[in-house]
Symmetry: C3
Subunit: 180 residues, 3 copies
């Protein structure tokens, strides 16, 4: 039996987590929309909005990775230089391996649009069979960054023994090298 593809989407937002208005989930919704466009395989998402609190973020990472068995967790928000921005701290504490190439490429990509891209500390990493990637907070930046890094995500999940993800080749090309 094939492994189910479960993807966690986690929006960090002090304001949004207190707010019940529809507009407050804009960042997370932007991620969900890109996933719909990029992934052809059947998959299920778990979407949470939580405040920018270190302990709570860490606990939610654990729930999504260990209990919910997400092969991929995508975060949005909390990667800047302000005191309340602690998503990166939680990511580094949670992951067993850090993959600096994700942050480098996303900043390089965002630099094409705004010089303040260098203020983002976003990174990515591995915990057991889960890949965790920090995305920026703004919807436009989210889709620019996902377009840059998504081609490497299905193969990364192969390497950590997660489910096989088939990309929607009309919208994005996933790359898998010929020999492992």
């Amino acid at each position: 039996m094939e492994k189910e593809i479960i993807i966690g989407v986690l929006q960090m937002s002090d304001r949004a987590s207190l707010d019940t208005n529809a507009y407050s989930s804009l960042s997370g919704d932007a991620i969900l929309e890109v996933l719909t466009s990029y992934i052809k395989s059947p998959y299920r998402t778990i979407f949470n909005i939580i405040p920018d609190e270190y302990d709570l973020i860490l606990k939610t990472f654990h729930t999504l990775a260990v209990e919910e068995k997400c092969c991929l967790i995508l975060t949005t928000g909390g990667t800047g230089p302000a005191k309340r921005d602690v998503t990166v701290e939680a990511t580094e504490a949670f992951c067993q391996k850090i993959l600096p190439g994700f942050g480098e490429l996303m900043r390089m990509e965002s630099l094409k649009y705004v010089p303040t891209a260098i203020l983002s500390r976003q990174t990515a990493g591995i915990y057991e069979n889960t890949l965790l990637v920090n995305l920026p907070g703004k919807p436009a930046a989210i889709s620019q960054c996902l377009q840059a890094v998504f081609p490497a995500i299905p193969y990364c999940i192969d390497l950590i023994e997660g489910p096989f993800i088939l990309a929607n080749e009309q919208n994005i090309k996933a790359f898998r090298p010929k020999s492992g």
Copy 2:
């Protein structure tokens, strides 16, 4: 009342700190000159030349950030691979958050001129309301690097609740995104 803009400039140099000749402050002077050209708001600088000693660098960071209330500290020197190069070690020990995008962009920029740019370990980070940025040791490289990263500095200082810095738009464009 508006907050005063105080900028610390710290030159690490074993030779220069023992030397009273004017030429020995070349690197620090290069930073001061770029600041004059880039910043329109009134500001005050504090310029120190100290030897490449870890404890002394750390102590000077503390003085500049906490006692002198600098919103920005710019260092020059001590970012290479040699044993005496300890500016980066002190920066990482002092800062509460590291901003890897500064070092990445400055190395990428310097690579346009010299392939040895990859030997620089320069980085940047935040301590409370102070942004600390390591610059290279050579005057030409200093101005190349500041040109690359300065556009993000005023907004970064906004985010850490420092004073509002107005850039001299004729010489450099500072970028502030529309919504926080």
Copy 3:
């Protein structure tokens, strides 16, 4: 008397270390071939193939740097996101200074060929008088990465007081800034 140039080449490979077939040393051989083409000075290499085991890698780094007095150690393999990939962990534990510019440039270079380049965690660092550089596992990627970073290697070894390495200018240009 001039210092002897000794270069350690270390191939991490679970399969190759159990295997006596000639093809299994492909990655290490690719490194040796590039060195032959790039280095004009007389030098000696020490080539080991070992399994992907953290303690063994760390011990071999120590032997190559301290006992064998290699000024340069080049590794291949073990830089990916999989659980068995521990070369980067051992490198970070062994080195006294990390040089992030090497990994950044190698990933940027590899990105020209494959989007999965961001999955490599390869880095470089210094232990006393030894420069240690992680290279990818695939022969083609090895030569792309060495071509990008080699121009900075002889000067780096000067800075850590290693032997003077003369490059073969027909095949690669080593760069040494005019003043130290």
